[in-house]
Subunit: 198 residues, 2 copies
DNA sequence: AATAGCGCATGACAACTGTCATGCTGGAAT
DNA sequence: ATTCCAGCATGACAGTTGTCATGCGCTATT
């Protein structure tokens, strides 16, 4: 079984990879960031993608969305640090099969992988409960703009990155600020991140 | 060789423990938080403590300080996520033998453990450079203003919190932006936080 | 004692940011 | 088919932010 492991922290990545390789039929490929993972997914077929959410480049959710759009059969298991509410709904929408906290033993990961490969859904119950609360009010474009703003990019940089006019970029940020009852873009980014919507 | 592994994220902890146990002469005990680790250190002798810094209960640095005070022969290797400059100095002061980033492969960890047991010091060069090289260029007021800005507070809020005029607050932020080669206050906060200056 | 330098403080001005009115499009409901 | 609405897109305008020149007080150096 071909597994792609995407995780940016090298120690965690190599440790997990070594352990998974102990399983006789697991063939593990490693990717240190989201962009590398995306390239590998485009080049060759994998049975399963095991990915962190927060990574430089593309996030685990974006990778899952890509697989869904391309109608690839690759299953997805997400592992992440915090149980941010928004992620779970977006992950389920992106067809993710498993969603685990890093705050769980490795045995649970292996068992989750096997269940997901058998076509089941495995979502950590703590995360599931969290996700029933508030819904993410941001549109995709608003989220993209906010993420760039949170990284310190200027409005003109955001505009050219998203191929829109500066006014439009400012409008997205303004909408996000208003939806989140924030004082400015920084405040909005802080709130969104805290709720797991970034 | 008796090793105590203190790390709060279960998946990382169990993965590292499983890998270390593959080494024939490593006998690994796990602790999920700082307080548990401290109790174990008090109850029985260990040859080496392998610890994260940021944990609930006692931090890895505090555990190292305890071992130093009790004049125990237990060696210490610290693994951590971010290269905050301050930590390195404090770790060295606490007699820590090794200091690695989680952003390093597991092989490096095993080799570091062996070198530390042989009496050597292994400090990740990136961390060392960080701690010796760059000095925090921010003044206290600049840091305060930047911290408030990073939390989404407006200039007028920052000004009244610090009992200064708005122009002054803007000036602190401007100085911080310029000292850090940042594009705006958000970027400056991001850079400062990343370097451990916030 | 004079000077140099740093941190603190301020306001004027230019540049950037947030808001709002407006228009367009495509999908859902009637 | 028509209406409604959410999302996307834009520019004008007001409000906020960043820069700079300027000045004050303190400490260290000459």
């Amino acid at each position: 079984m071909k597994i792609l492991l995407a995780e940016d922290q090298a120690m965690v990545r190599t440790a997990l990879a070594s352990l998974l390789r102990l399983e006789a039929d697991f063939q593990v490929t490693e990717a240190a960031d989201g962009s590398t993972a995306l390239k590998l997914l485009q080049q060759q077929p994998f049975d399963l993608l095991l990915s962190d959410i927060e990574m430089p480049g593309n996030s685990g959710i974006e990778l899952a969305q890509y697989l869904q759009q391309q109608k690839l059969a690759t299953k997805v298991v997400i592992i992440t640090t915090f149980g941010r509410a928004g992620y779970v709904k977006r992950a389920i929408d992106a067809g993710v099969g498993g969603f685990l906290l890093k705050d769980a033993p490795v045995e649970q990961l292996v068992s989750a992988i096997n269940q997901v490969m058998a076509g089941k859904r495995v979502i950590d119950s703590e995360l599931l409960l969290n996700s029933l609360g508030e819904q993410d009010p941001l549109t995709d474009k608003e989220r993209q703009a906010l993420r760039l703003a949170a990284d310190g990019h200027s409005t003109s940089e955001i505009a050219s990155t998203l191929y829109i006019a500066e006014g439009t970029a400012r409008n997205y940020l303004s909408e996000a600020i208003s939806k989140l009852n924030a004082a400015n873009r920084i405040d909005a980014a802080r709130i969104a991140r805290q709720k797991g919507w970034l």
